[in-house]
């Protein structure tokens, strides 16, 4: 059974429909990239998958014993966070909040989990540092460690590399790739089609026409060819400037 199965999903705000008749499945261990233009509804889709927003129609079925609060989430950074006085440890620990229930403090196991995930993301030496003093890439690692505290199975990432320089971006991609190889299912929103084609197993392209398939099918499809080519030329042009 699929980890997440989306059937006939219709998304939008109030009376404006953004996406309709969306169908796709995510199986354990897969790496799904969601690509598409700005405003095509990628973030809305992610928020719906996370149960932060109700779909207008259709359903999302969580399988393989995946509970709704077992999804790790890496949101886009908010303005509030840029100036937030919090230590790295405090933030990573907050990934365990769902495990606590009504208990007002974190248990030893949860603290251990936070330490392990800081280690895994290579930020243990920053544990006492203030989040706002870290670089963009380090901040993303902190949020990734927090997301890992919330899940063992699946991560939803909303543009994890936006605003990062090319080298840090490459590091971030290989970090995420490593997590996927460790068995964590990845769903990622991305602007970067070349990276999507490189790392993902499946691609969901949202525009007027919706494409869902493996990355090879995507590379062969008309819409895929068009976007990969356009991306290639845009990169070339950016290099020339």
């Amino acid at each position: 059974m699929a980890l997440i199965e989306v059937k006939g999903l219709k998304l939008g705000y109030e009376n404006r429909v953004i996406i309709k008749n969306l169908n796709f499945t995510v199986n354990e261990g897969e790496y799904l990239c969601i690509v598409g233009e700005n405003g095509s509804g990628k973030t809305t889709l992610m928020k719906t998958l996370l149960n932060l927003q109700k779909p207008m129609d259709g359903e999302i079925i969580y399988g393989d014993g995946l509970k709704k609060n077992e999804i790790g989430y890496l949101p886009q950074q908010t303005i509030v966070q840029k100036d937030f006085p919090a230590s790295v440890r405090e933030i990573v620990l907050s990934g365990c909040q769902a495990r606590c229930g009504w208990r007002p403090f974190y248990s030893k196991d949860e603290k251990k989990l936070a330490e392990d995930n800081m280690e895994r993301m290579g930020i243990k030496q920053f544990a006492k540092r203030c989040y706002r003093d870290l670089s963009g890439g380090q901040q993303q690692r902190v949020l990734l460690a927090r997301a890992l505290c919330a899940t063992r199975k699946i991560l939803l990432l909303d543009e994890p590399v936006s605003g990062l320089d090319p080298m840090v971006t490459a590091e971030m991609y290989s970090l995420i790739d490593g997590l996927n190889k460790d068995g964590i299912t990845i769903i990622m929103i991305s602007h970067d089609i070349s990276a999507a084609v490189r790392y993902a197993t499946n691609i969901l392209h949202i525009s007027k026409k919706i494409f869902f398939g493996t990355k090879d099918e995507y590379s062969q499809s008309d819409i895929g060819k068009l976007f990969i080519m356009r991306d290639y030329y845009e990169r070339g042009r950016n290099r020339d400037v």
């Binding site: 999804i71 989430y73 949101p75 937030f84 230590s87 405090e90």
Partner: protein, 281 residues
């Protein structure tokens, strides 16, 4: 100097001075406890709006001439807090405009009411002390002190019990909601607590001044400390110290309003922390 110190000693002999001091410390503690979260969540405006609403409610209460004004002020302010929170998050109606509407409306309505049905002969004095706090130490009964202590104890216990969740919701509401934390319930809880704290402190430092007690210690502490816990702890310590110093200054100088003095000390502390923060960098 020694004269003044012995003057404070003399004053402390009086129970009403001790009562006022206890209540000031409790108000300062509760206000600053939530300040960090309110500032970071960009909720400071709720505190400000609520203090205006508190004025309106107090006007109604004094016109209605009820024995215990809290019976009217507390529920009105709590309901307004919930409403303000709703409008603040509503993107359809401009949140800040709605808040301005409610708070200025309450202010105007309260003032109007006090003019039409003057509760006492000295209307200007009444309005002034409601807005800016009494000019001298007000006389509190033992019952007032007990009520204030109970409310403070509840505020502190609720804060400590939900501290981790409050941090999580403050830092990243989307993430918290995604992993199943009931963010709306916690926002509501925060709004109710802040309403209670504002009502508690209003009679002491005045309705316009109370939001300063919420915001300043948090902002000062944020200049210096780097983790949420240390920022919260320091802002509470700072707030209590400023409040006590403010009361003593007010007593020593005499005939100056306590609320304004405490806020002035808070401002001075902020400037001090700001400069130290700059030097540390």
């Amino acid at each position: 100097m020694f004269d003044n110190l012995s003057k404070i000693g003399d004053y402390l002999e009086y129970p009403f001075v001790r009562y006022a001091l206890i209540v000031v410390v409790l108000v300062a503690l509760c206000a600053s406890l939530l300040g960090v979260t309110l500032v970071l969540k960009r909720f400071s405006f709720i505190g400000d709006g609520l203090s205006h609403v508190g004025f309106g409610a107090m006007a109604i209460a004094s016109v209605a001439n009820v024995t215990n004004q809290m019976i009217i002020i507390m529920p009105v302010t709590i309901i307004s807090a919930v409403l303000l929170l709703r409008t603040g998050q509503n993107t359809k109606i401009k949140g800040d405009a709605a808040i301005a509407m409610i708070s200025v409306g309450a202010l105007a309505f309260g003032y109007l009411l006090m003019n039409i049905f003057p509760p006492s002969a000295n209307l200007t004095g009444d309005v002034c002390s409601t807005l800016f706090g009494p000019t001298s130490l007000i006389t509190l009964t033992m019952d007032d002190v007990i009520l204030c202590s109970v409310i403070s104890a509840i505020v502190v216990i609720v804060f400590l019990f939900f501290y981790r969740k409050i941090f999580a919701v403050t830092f990243d509401e989307n993430f918290a909601a995604a992993v199943g934390t009931r963010t709306k319930a916690y926002n509501l809880l925060l709004a109710v607590i802040i309403a209670v704290v504002i009502v508690m402190g209003m009679t002491l430092v005045g309705s316009l001044m109370i939001s300063a007690l919420v915001i300043f210690p948090a902002l000062s502490s944020m200049r210096l400390f780097k983790s949420f816990r240390s920022v919260t702890i320091f802002s509470v310590i700072l707030s209590v110290c400023c409040a006590v110093i403010g009361v003593f200054i007010a007593i020593m100088v005499g005939r100056i309003p306590i609320g304004a003095t405490i806020v002035a000390v808070d401002v001075a502390a902020f400037i001090f922390c700001w400069i130290i923060g700059l030097i540390k960098k």
